[in-house]
Amino acid sequence: MRPGHGEQLIAEGDPSVAEDEERLVEAFRRQLDEGMWAAIPTTSRGGRRQAELVRAFEDVPRDAERVIFFPRAAGGAA
């Protein structure tokens, strides 16, 4: 998610392929370095929709379809 633009594709690939994984890791780190938060939408066994915040690429489940990056939360206008 990018202010003023909305959703944008940053990188895509198969993490089981070494080249793709390297590219995904680099894109993931770059986003976190820029102060973004990373979330993975998930569905629980009961069908409930959840989200998981991850801080490292290693924490991303191998079967995750997507990781959504969004600007880090900050205290809003008081």
Binding site: M1, R2, P3, G4, H5, G6, E7, E34, G35, W37, A39, P41, S44, R45, G46, G47, R48, R49, Q50, A51, E52, L53, I68, F70, P71, R72, A73, A74, G75, G76, A77, A78
Partner: protein, 214 residues
């Protein structure tokens, strides 16, 4: 005498022209630069960009939340998220109920309240500023703002609440509006339940009960 005065005037005018020439050159350059900037801005301006961004954001939100939550946002303009959802397992929550809940509005504070009584607890002011550009930038599309709050609450409720500025109810959102929204939410849920019951009567018996928390 007259000839001398004319000659002096001409010399003065010529000197003034020489002195003021750089000034007029500069003014002309500035005017040209402003005109070029206006034309460039006009060429880049895309009146549909924000609308398309919001459309994409709605699709993304719809793909992340469940049908009930999507319907709630589409029909009412806000989302309700149960408190403590990340820490309490589904089964335990069904047995114990939820102690509190949040209302998520686009670009407004998150409102915490007690579902059993409708009592408002706090407002949590939170933003998602773009830190990649130090001079500031436009905000997230409405639906992206809602999704960011939803993901942050679901993923790490405590972290989000710690980052937010907490205020008593009524600081930014009129409590009467929130009470109205809670009433609308109750009506909406009753109608949804009635529709689901009607649909179930028209169908053969379902395999199992619907998940009330999803």
């Amino acid at each position: 005498m007259a000839v001398a005065l004319c000659a002096t005037s001409l010399v003065v005018l010529a000197l003034l022209w020489e002195v003021s020439l750089p000034f007029w050159d500069r003014k002309l350059e500035e005017r040209r630069a402003r005109k070029a900037a206006r034309e460039a801005a006009g060429a880049d301006y895309d009146p549909g960009r924000e609308r398309r961004a919001e459309q994409r954001a709605r699709e993304l939100l719809k793909s992340c939340v469940n049908d009930e939550e999507w319907g709630m946002y589409r029909d009412l303009g806000f989302l309700r998220v149960w408190g403590g959802s990340a820490e309490v397992p589904d089964e335990a929550r069904e047995l114990r109920g939820v102690p509190y809940a949040y209302l998520i509005y686009p670009h407004k504070p998150i409102v915490a309240y007690l579902p059993q009584t409708g009592r408002l607890l706090n407002e949590y002011c939170v933003e998602f500023p773009d830190e990649t550009r130090p001079y500031g930038s436009p905000r997230l599309p409405d639906s992206d703002d809602v999704l960011a709050k939803w993901m942050a609450l679901k993923g790490d409720e405590r972290r989000l609440i710690n980052e937010a500025n907490m205020h008593l109810p009524g600081r930014q959102i009129d409590p009467r509006q929130v009470q109205r929204d809670l009433w609308r939410l109750g009506q909406w849920e009753r109608e949804r339940l009635a529709r689901a019951n009607q649909a179930a009567k028209g169908r053969p018996r379902a395999a199992g009960p619907a998940d009330p928390t999803s």
